[in-house]
C-alpha cells in the first residue's frame, strides 16, 4: 500500500522510505495477527445508520485531515468498536454511554448543520465543516452538553483508530511492535538499522506557538 497523502507543510515525507510493515516478520505471531488485520479489508458497518455513517465519515476526515485516498478506514474501525462495545465502560453522569452518545452527537451535528445551512453536515463544503467544528471546539456548551466532553469523545475514538494503523506510523517514524526483537540502540539520536532519520528535524510544529501550553484529559 502506498503512503497516506500528507502535505509536507503538515509533516508529510519526513521519514523517506520508512515502512513499519516491513518489520512484521520480526513480530510475534499473535501481534502479527492483530496488527496486520488492520491492513486487510475493513469490516462492514454494523453500528452506524446510513445517516450516521455519512456524518461520521465527514467528521473523521476533518478531525484527521484525511482529504484523499488512501485513507485509514477510521469510520469502519470506530463502527467495529461500538458494535462490539469495546468502550472504556465509564460514562459521565450527564451523558449517555459511548455508543448512545455517538448516535446522539452525530444527530446533533447534522441538526446544527441544517440550522446553519439547511443541509446535513456531510453536504457542507470542507471550509464550512471546518468552521462548524471550530465553533464547537471553542464553545462552553453545545446543544445541551459540555462541548469539551463531546469534542473529547470524537477525538479520542478518531485518534485511537488512526494511530493504531501502520500507515500512520510511517509518517511519524514509529516502527510499531517490538517483540521479540526489542531495541539495541537506546539514547539521543541513536537509531536501529531499520529506523529512518527525520529528514526535516527543524520543522518544529510548536515553534510559532507559546513556549508553554496546557490542556486536560477528556
Amino acid at each position: 500500500m502506498t503512503a497516506l497523502p500528507l502535505d509536507p507543510k503538515d509533516g508529510g515525507g519526513r521519514f523517506p522510505g520508512f515502512d513499519a510493515q516491513r518489520q512484521s516478520p520480526h513480530w510475534d505471531r499473535v501481534t502479527q495477527g492483530v496488527v496486520l488485520a488492520r491492513l486487510g479489508r475493513p469490516t462492514d458497518l454494523r453500528f452506524f445508520t446510513v445517516a450516521e455513517e455519512a456524518a461520521a465519515r465527514a467528521l473523521f476526515d476533518q478531525l484527521l485531515d484525511q482529504r484523499h485516498e488512501p485513507r485509514v478506514p477510521v469510520v469502519n474501525m470506530v463502527d467495529a468498536r461500538l458494535a462490539e462495545e469495546q468502550t472504556d465502560g465509564w460514562h459521565y453522569e450527564d451523558m449517555e454511554p459511548d455508543p448512545a452518545a455517538w448516535r446522539s452527537t452525530l444527530a446533533e451535528l447534522d441538526a446544527e448543520a441544517r440550522e446553519r445551512q439547511k443541509r446535513p453536515f456531510v453536504e457542507l463544503s470542507w471550509e464550512e465543516q471546518t468552521l462548524l467544528l471550530t465553533d464547537i471546539q471553542a464553545a462552553e456548551t453545545w446543544r445541551g452538553r459540555q462541548a469539551s466532553r463531546v469534542w473529547s469523545l470524537w477525538t479520542r475514538y478518531a485518534c485511537t483508530a488512526f494511530y493504531s494503523h501502520p500507515l500512520a506510523w510511517d509518517e511519524i517514524g514509529f516502527a510499531g511492535p517490538a517483540y521479540p526483537r526489542g531495541y539495541k540502540n537506546l539514547g539521543l539520536n541513536a537509531r536501529e538499522p531499520f529506523e529512518v532519520a527525520d529528514a526535516r528535524p527543524a520543522q518544529d510544529p510548536a515553534a510559532h506557538t507559546a513556549k508553554s501550553r496546557t490542556g486536560r484529559q477528556r
Partner: protein
C-alpha cells in the same frame, strides 16, 4: 532473611523461556463450592495474589476468585497499543463531580495479575511522613501503623519482584536488590535537566529484573511495558506470586465475578461468597473472606452485600465504605528537542525524583509530588497533543514530530476527602449488579500541587534544552475507599486489614490506604497485604487443621 527462592519460588517455577507453566494450571487444586475453604480471596491483583501466596505457603486451603481471565501472556498479550484494550476493566461505571475521573484504562486492571499487568513498573516505597500527615501537616489522615511496621515487608517484596535502581536517598534511604537499568534518550534528558536545575534524580525504582532472575529473562527494552510484559521481565503477581501459590496448593478461579458476600445473621460472620462463573450463580463457602477488588470494586461489593444485619451495606454502620477514595494528579509535560529522542524505545519507567515529595514550609500547599519519566506510545501521545486543542492538519504535523519529544509525568499527592466516594447507581450490569458511581472533586491543595508539578517539569525540560513544552492534566492510580483507621468511626478495617464490623472479613488491597503519598501504590499494596497475611498466620486465625 531467607533467600528469595526459599520464600517465594515463583521465578523458578516459570519455564526457562517466555511463556507460562501450563501444567501448573491444569494440575492446580480445585476446591468444591460446598467445601469450606480456609480463605476465599476476591480479586487476584497486587493485594489478593500476595495474600494468596503467603497463606498457601502456610498450608491454608486458599482460593482466589477473579472476575477476569487467567492470562497466558504468549497468547493473550500483544506488542501493540490499541490491541491491549482487554487488559482494562471496562464494565459500565458512572463518573461525576467537579473533576470526574475517567476509568477503564491506566487506573484499572482486569484478570489475574490485576493492574500490575499494565502498570509502568515503578515501585517506590512510601516515605515515613506518609503515615501521619494529619498530625504533622493537618491534612490527610494518620494511619494506624507507621513506616517501621511495613519496612521489612517492603524489603521482602522488593526482593521478590525484584526491584532495580540506584541507592535511594529519599524517605528512609535504602538500596535495591538489582542494579539500575541503562537509560534511553528520555531518561538521559531527565537526568541532564535535573542536574542543570539543581534537582536530584535517580535511575529506578522499577520492578524489572536487571539480569536473569530465576527463569525470568533480562528485559529487552522494547517499550511496551503498559501493554503487558510478554518477556516476563516486568513483575506482576501473575509471575511473581501466583506460581508459588499454585505450587503450594492454592486455587485461582478465574472468570468468576463475586457479586455478594454472605453474612450469617445470627453470628454476624461471613460464610462465603456468591459469584457468577460461566453464566451460573454459585456460592463458595469459606471460613474467612478477604476482599481485594481495588478501590472501585471493593466498595461496590461491600455496598451490594447489604443484609439484615448491615442494611446500608456490609461494614457500613458508620457510613465509611466507599469514602476517601483518592486519585493522584498526574500531569504529563513534554518538551521538544532538536535531537531525536524516540522516547518509546526502552521501558517508560526509567528515572525519578522525590525532591518535591515532602511538605515545603515555604509553599502555600501541603505535601508534594514526585516526577518520573513516562513515554507515551502513539495513541496516548495523540491524546496529549489533542489536549492542546490541535486537530486536523495541525494534529498530523505535531504527530510527525513525535521523534523529537521527551515526556515527564508527575504524581501529586491529592488529599483524601469524605465526599470523593463510590456509591451504587440504579443502572445494572449484565450480572444484574448495580454499577459503581464514582464522584470526585479536587480541593485547593490538589490544584496547587498540580500547578507546581507542571512548573517543576517545565523547568527540568527547559534546563535540558527543550524549545517548547506542552502539558496534559490527567490522573493516575486509585487508592482508598475502605480505609484502615484506629476505630470503626473513621475507617472500615484495622491495621491488620481486618474489618471492624465482621471478625472474619478482611480487605487486602489499595482501598485500605488512608493516604497515598506521591508514590506509585503497587509496592505498598503488596507490603500491606503481606503484613496482613503474616498477622493472619501468626494469629492462627481459624486455620483448618
Amino acid at each position: 532473611m531467607a533467600s528469595v527462592k526459599d520464600r517465594n519460588a515463583s521465578a523458578w517455577l516459570l519455564p526457562p523461556v517466555p511463556g507460562t507453566n501450563h501444567a501448573m494450571r491444569t494440575d492446580m487444586a480445585q476446591f468444591r463450592d460446598e467445601e469450606e475453604v480456609d480463605v476465599a480471596i476476591v480479586g487476584c491483583g497486587a493485594g489478593g495474589s500476595t495474600l494468596l501466596q503467603r497463606l498457601a505457603r502456610a498450608g491454608w486451603k486458599a482460593v482466589a476468585l477473579d472476575a477476569g481471565p487467567f492470562w497466558d501472556p504468549e497468547r493473550d498479550w500483544v506488542s501493540d497499543e490499541a490491541g491491549s484494550h482487554h487488559l482494562y476493566w471496562t464494565e459500565p461505571r458512572i463518573i461525576s463531580g467537579d473533576d470526574p475521573v475517567p476509568l477503564g484504562s491506566n487506573n484499572s486492571g482486569r484478570g489475574v495479575g490485576g493492574s500490575m499487568v499494565h502498570y509502568a513498573g515503578y515501585t517506590p516505597r512510601f516515605h515515613p511522613s506518609d503515615f501521619h500527615t494529619y498530625s504533622t501537616d493537618g491534612v490527610g489522615a494518620d494511619w494506624p501503623l507507621e513506616y517501621g511496621d511495613l519496612k521489612s515487608y517492603y524489603e521482602d517484596i522488593e526482593g521478590e519482584l525484584p526491584v532495580a535502581g540506584e541507592h535511594w536517598p529519599w524517605g528512609d534511604p535504602h538500596s535495591y536488590p538489582h542494579s539500575p537499568h541503562p537509560v534511553s534518550g528520555n531518561g538521559e534528558l531527565f537526568l541532564r535537566g535535573a542536574l542543570a536545575s539543581g534537582i536530584t534524580a535517580k535511575v529506578g525504582p522499577v520492578a524489572i529484573s536487571n539480569g536473569r532472575f530465576g527463569n525470568r529473562p533480562h528485559c529487552i527494552y522494547r517499550g511496551f511495558c503498559l501493554q503487558g510484559c510478554k518477556v516476563n521481565a516486568k513483575a506482576s503477581p501473575l509471575i511473581t506470586h501466583i506460581p508459588d501459590a499454585l505450587h503450594h496448593g492454592a486455587e485461582v478461579r478465574a472468570d468468576s465475578m463475586v457479586t455478594r458476600i454472605e453474612i450469617d445473621d445470627t453470628t454476624g460472620k461471613a460464610t462465603g461468597v456468591h459469584y457468577v462463573r460461566h453464566g451460573r450463580a454459585r456460592f463458595q463457602r469459606a471460613r474467612i473472606v478477604a476482599v481485594a477488588g481495588y478501590s472501585i470494586e471493593t466498595p461496590r461489593l461491600l455496598l451490594n452485600s447489604a443484609c439484615k444485619r448491615f442494611p446500608e451495606g456490609l461494614c457500613n454502620d458508620f457510613d465509611q465504605v466507599g469514602r476517601y477514595l483518592m486519585v493522584q494528579g498526574a500531569p504529563q509535560t513534554a518538551g521538544r528537542f532538536e535531537s531525536e529522542v524516540r522516547m518509546w524505545k526502552a521501558p517508560p519507567p526509567e528515572v525519578s525524583s522525590e525532591d518535591f515529595y515532602e511538605t515545603d514550609p515555604s509553599k502555600p500547599y501541603k505535601r508534594g509530588f514526585s516526577i518520573q519519566t513516562v513515554s507515551p506510545l502513539p495513541i496516548t501521545w495523540a491524546e496529549h497533543v489533542a489536549a492542546q486543542g490541535h486537530w486536523g492538519g495541525k494534529l498530523r504535523e505535531y504527530m510527525s514530530d513525535y521523534v523529537h519529544w521527551a515526556c515527564l509525568g508527575a504524581l501529586c499527592e491529592f488529599l483524601p476527602q469524605t465526599d470523593n466516594r463510590v456509591t451504587l447507581a440504579s443502572e445494572k450490569d449484565r450480572n444484574s449488579m448495580p454499577v459503581a458511581h464514582f464522584h470526585y472533586s479536587q480541593c485547593d491543595n490538589d490544584r496547587q500541587l498540580m500547578q507546581a508539578a507542571q512548573e517543576a517539569m517545565e523547568k527540568i525540560l527547559q534546563a535540558a534544552g527543550a524549545q517548547e513544552v506542552i502539558t496534559i492534566r490527567r490522573f493516575a492510580h486509585l487508592v482508598g475507599g475502605a480505609r484502615m483507621a484506629a476505630d470503626e468511626q473513621h475507617g472500615v478495617v484495622d491495621a491488620d486489614c481486618r474489618s471492624f464490623a465482621v471478625p472474619n472479613l478482611y480487605i487486602t488491597d489499595g482501598s485500605v490506604l488512608p493516604t497515598q503519598g506521591s508514590a506509585n501504590p503497587a509496592l505498598t499494596i503488596m507490603a500491606v497485604a503481606a503484613r496482613a497475611a503474616n498477622r493472619l498466620i501468626a494469629g492462627g486465625a481459624s486455620k483448618t487443621t
